[in-house]
Symmetry: C2
Subunit: 376 residues, 2 copies
DNA sequence: CTGTTAGCGCATTCAG
DNA sequence: CTGAATGCGCTAACAG
């Protein structure tokens, strides 16, 4: 019923092997023959059977992109950039036309919702599909059990020939002393990289920049709306913040003016209320990201506090809406598009792996209207 | 090198068929045997070969979700809801644990960037993978050639057994008179549905509601920042707007105070400048969506105009940031999560197809601070 | 309930 | 440059 390679071969009066060769384009075929085959393909409206081809070739053209939250533009922007880069057909520089689907990869994004189990599940599913590459975005959970499980899973993926790229996530911890000599005599040739390439953000530096800015304005009592506990991004941003405070000689019980919560607007709103309950004298609130800052705005509005006159607010990421908030949000810009694009290129092996397997992208401060000197 | 079903069978001392049966869970197997097999699977760390299984079964567990712009929360929210619903394992109600990956589907989102060619390309790629279902979100392009191509492609997908669900997109135009009797004698049994199920939004009604609101406040000179020309969503929202104007007896050259552009902040900014150039007497600007309204805010700020005192602004969609803009944005809420979830359930055949194959979800007006009576 | 037997559709050796 | 033969790993009839 469904048309197969053999049907095309019959119509083009060639062997199935020849059809396969023109379709994959990685083998010399006479121009005239190719022409005939392509015509037959069009006439029959033939579509390659992916599973069959993946089975025979032991690899598929699927590339998975894992994100924590697909509704969050932070991930959407990175994933979009990666997907564009990956979807780019072999030769061309732009999006190719016709719905014919030549040598492209199928770049797909998978939403883990920040759940470690789903992260693992998706990796297994991708492994099952024999994905040619996997890009994992966003911060990592710092739970030892999960780290071990992830490391094992990623190792297995890489052993199976899947390229693994980390994007906006720190590299995996070094796998200890490593296994000794290992396999028997015959050198099995250089195995795939044992460490995934990583493109990361300077979250620590960004956090530092932001709080330095606040301190320079004269703030000394600064609340901090941290991300979820146990995640690398949360920790790094917070560390940058604390480093700035320490450098300025601001001591005191910082944990008291730090609250953790998910990267959501609601968490920011509740956290801000909590912070002001704990210390009504705060002159500034730093949010772990722009979405959380959205919630801070809401809470302050509720309380009748003006930004920045009564209290300054800052975010992180510079999502598109940041500059249109009322007032425009001071934040830290991360090169999300560049990160996604580089990760995409790494996934396709189109970019050289950076020094030591890891590239750190800089964060830049964007002072806007939501921060000013404290009132008195 | 890589462990196969046969290895598991050997270790569990059963036949490969039995292993396949316990893994797929759709066939009676003795509890003890199952136990033994599962143990072997764990011990060998076996992962099913997706392509092989898809080839043999002539269907894969892949479900594709097409979106126009993955960086836009409008799509992210719908896609996330759909993905959650689809990823839900057969029996259970929540996200399943362990990275073992049982009977789940692999729900993946594909970013078309709004390009018709990429839309077709992704569909072909999914067809190639023998996807079990495809969810297509967002408005459709109204170009006849593209509509024809899409209809053909979707028909082919459905003929091949792929479930097609439209989400936030109007149903395809009826396929004309349809082909006559067709195939030969033997009734081939009831073919798959010839029309994809659709979950759509009442964009027209929402547009109407919004402009009615503005008119009720006393506005009569209203600019409109429309979406990209030739898209159903754009047209429907605009039609609702025009209908409200007409009902209020507001005539005049409405095209003059309507500008089209992509659904981006920049387009909103430029469009607003253009609108005020064309008619400085506008007392309100309606944006095709919230992101475009973001740009309108920016442009008005630039011009030193206050919202809503000097000019009212309204959006559409009620994205999370809308209520934290300065001032809070009046907009129309669409049940994005419900739409995505229903589309996901339809894709898995877990929800009855609605009346006539199409369900229309309502839009509700959310009046906020960005709209008020005109100044004089 | 379980084992045996055949392919699924394609990519590759090899010959020619 | 092209054709013929083989097997990728699994599922789906059938028997038993």
């Amino acid at each position: 019923m469904t048309v197969t390679l053999a049907d095309v071969a019959a119509r083009a009066r060639v062997s199935p092997a020849t059809v396969s060769r023109v379709l994959n384009g990685n083998y010399p075929v006479a121009a005239e023959t190719r022409e005939r085959v392509l015509r037959a393909v069009d006439e029959l409206d033939y579509v390659l059977n992916g599973p069959a081809s993946a089975l025979a070739a032991a690899t598929s053209d699927l590339v998975g992109i894992l994100v924590n939250d697909i509704a969050d533009p932070f991930f959407g922007i990175m994933a979009g950039a990666a997907q564009t880069e990956i979807g780019r057909a072999a030769g061309d520089g732009g999006p190719n036309g016709n719905g014919r689907a030549g040598g492209e990869k199928l770049a797909v994004v998978c939403n883990t919702g920040g759940s470690p189990e789903r992260e693992l599940t998706y990796l297994t599913l991708l492994q099952r599909q024999r994905a040619s590459a996997v890009v994992i975005t966003g911060g990592a959970l710092e739970d030892p059990a999960h780290i071990t499980a992830m490391a094992a899973k990623l190792t297995r993926l890489m052993e199976a020939g899947t390229t693994v790229v980390l994007c906006g996530r720190p590299p995996l911890p070094a796998p200890g002393a490593g296994s000794p000599a290992g396999a028997s005599g015959a050198g099995a040739g250089p195995l795939a990289a044992r460490i995934p390439a990583a493109v990361t953000f300077d979250n620590r530096g960004g956090g530092r920049l932001l709080t330095d800015h606040l301190i320079a304005l004269g703030h000394r009592r600064i609340g901090y709306l941290a991300g979820p506990a146990g995640r690398t991004t949360t920790r790094h941003r917070l560390e940058g913040h604390r480093a700035a405070l320490a450098a300025a000689g601001i001591t005191g019980d910082q944990d008291r003016v730090t609250v953790h919560g998910p990267y959501t607007r609601d968490a920011g709103q509740q956290g801000t209320r909590e912070l002001l309950l704990r210390d009504p004298g705060l002159t500034a609130v730093v949010a772990a990201n722009d979405t959380v800052a959205l919630g801070a705005y809401a809470a302050l509005r509720e309380l009748g506090l003006r930004i920045p006159e009564d209290i300054a607010v800052a975010g992180f990421d510079d999502l598109p809406f940041a500059r249109d908030m009322g007032p425009a949000l001071t934040t830290v810009r991360l090169p999300l598009i560049e990160a996604g694009a580089r990760a995409g290129r790494l996934a396709r092996g189109r970019e050289r792996v950076p020094q030591g397997g890891i590239a750190m992208l800089p964060a830049t401060l964007l002072p806007r209207a939501s921060t000013a000197r404290p009132h008195d």
